[in-house]
Symmetry: C2
Subunit: 234 residues, 2 copies
């Protein structure tokens, strides 16, 4: 039994840093006034150690979450027990929010990749608040819309692009420059990036080494891009 309340450190009063992060979250940033107060009353902050299972597919869904720091892997298993990531949530991301107006059962597993702090919202409470406060409903819709578009992008990527192309696309998205050279520092392990891109870790490694010929060099988590434009037309 891994009831969250047993292993997680729940605190109703949140510290100012967590609160600041929470307020910058796309979901919460869309709120103000009464709506914001109500949601803040409904939240509880938990810190979760690395590699901890937050919930499992098929169990009853009572909360949805927002990542404040750390990373959360959403994944599913096939019959042989092989895992496939569906999504990797980074700070600011909301997950399992699709259950506010869906079934009451989690449809995938969620596991932390690192030490992580989460904002946790009760689903029933949120549903009630959404009825009272149009702003909350609006924030949920924005959130769902954005999340849906991202997931559709993911399907399209899987079906259209090769491994080096996906890596190139990731680098370009996480690199602010639009010309010349640049440097990206991965905020997490490469195996996590592999999962995000729907690849085995070995495939990611090979993709990186195939990008050497367009001027990408990797040392640890630091990735040097010789020419951003060269990367663009991989």
């Amino acid at each position: 039994m891994e009831k969250p309340t047993v292993t997680m450190n729940k605190s109703l009063r949140m510290n100012s840093r967590d609160k600041a992060v929470l307020m910058r979250t796309p979901f919460m940033a869309a709120l103000n006034g009464e709506a914001l107060v109500k949601m803040l009353n409904a939240v509880s902050i938990t810190s979760v150690p690395a590699r901890h299972v937050i919930f499992r597919e098929g169990t009853e869904a009572d909360h949805f979450y927002c990542v404040l720091s750390g990373y959360v892997r959403l994944y599913r298993l096939n019959r042989e027990g092989r895992e496939a990531d569906i999504r990797v949530c980074t700070p600011g991301d909301t997950f399992a929010e699709c259950l506010i107006y869906g079934d009451d059962v989690y449809r995938f597993n969620a596991q932390t990749a690192e030490n992580t702090t989460l904002a946790r919202f009760d689903i029933r409470t949120t549903r009630q608040l959404a009825e009272q406060e149009p702003a909350i409903a609006r924030a949920i819709m924005s959130c769902l819309s954005h999340h849906l578009l991202t997931t559709m992008d993911c399907v399209a990527n899987d079906r259209l692009h090769t491994a080096p192309q996906r890596v190139a696309e990731y680098l370009l998205k996480s690199c602010p420059v639009d010309g010349g050279s640049a440097s990206v520092r991965l905020p997490f392990q490469k195996s996590l990036l592999a999962g995000m891109l729907g690849l085995a870790p070995e495939a990611l490694s090979r993709a990186f080494s195939s990008l050497r010929r367009v001027g990408v060099t990797v040392r640890g988590r630091i990735i040097q891009i010789g020419d951003v434009n060269a990367l663009r037309d991989v």
Copy 2:
């Protein structure tokens, strides 16, 4: 230029059959009273010939749609012009609803696969109605949630299952029986099914023929399943 209004047959008065179908749509079925009336005033029915492009990626998004009959392919192109389906919408499905609270640009192409009738809603109007009527906001959230879960299933499927497994899963979903033998009639061309499952048409064909050894026989659009349970553990 394929402005919808030019090629589509727009009619504000809808016939009783279209109306009946529209009312059974998950999106509209969630409404009643004032909310239902307002949405019905905002809808316009269009019939679109087969293989007609409804909208293109990158163009300004002003409407979202609900399929009443026929099929709509949502797809994206890579640089070489290869198409990949992101989703195939069947009667009752809503698409581009993620733009109600998202960007104002279509993020993929939409094309009919057959002669199709669509319910078309203005995005701005719907957004305003969602503010007035909580029931409409609720229907949109349900719709987005369901759509998101379906799309996540799709990612998981692509990453976990082989072609024969995906076909088996499709057959089991579209076949009501839970034991013994059964028969499924595909409601559309096989090439469309291939797209839904993220396969080339040839791969679908091979998947079918590899399922022969578990008692699946194909003749045209009719698919005979010898033993549903045998199909279940492919």
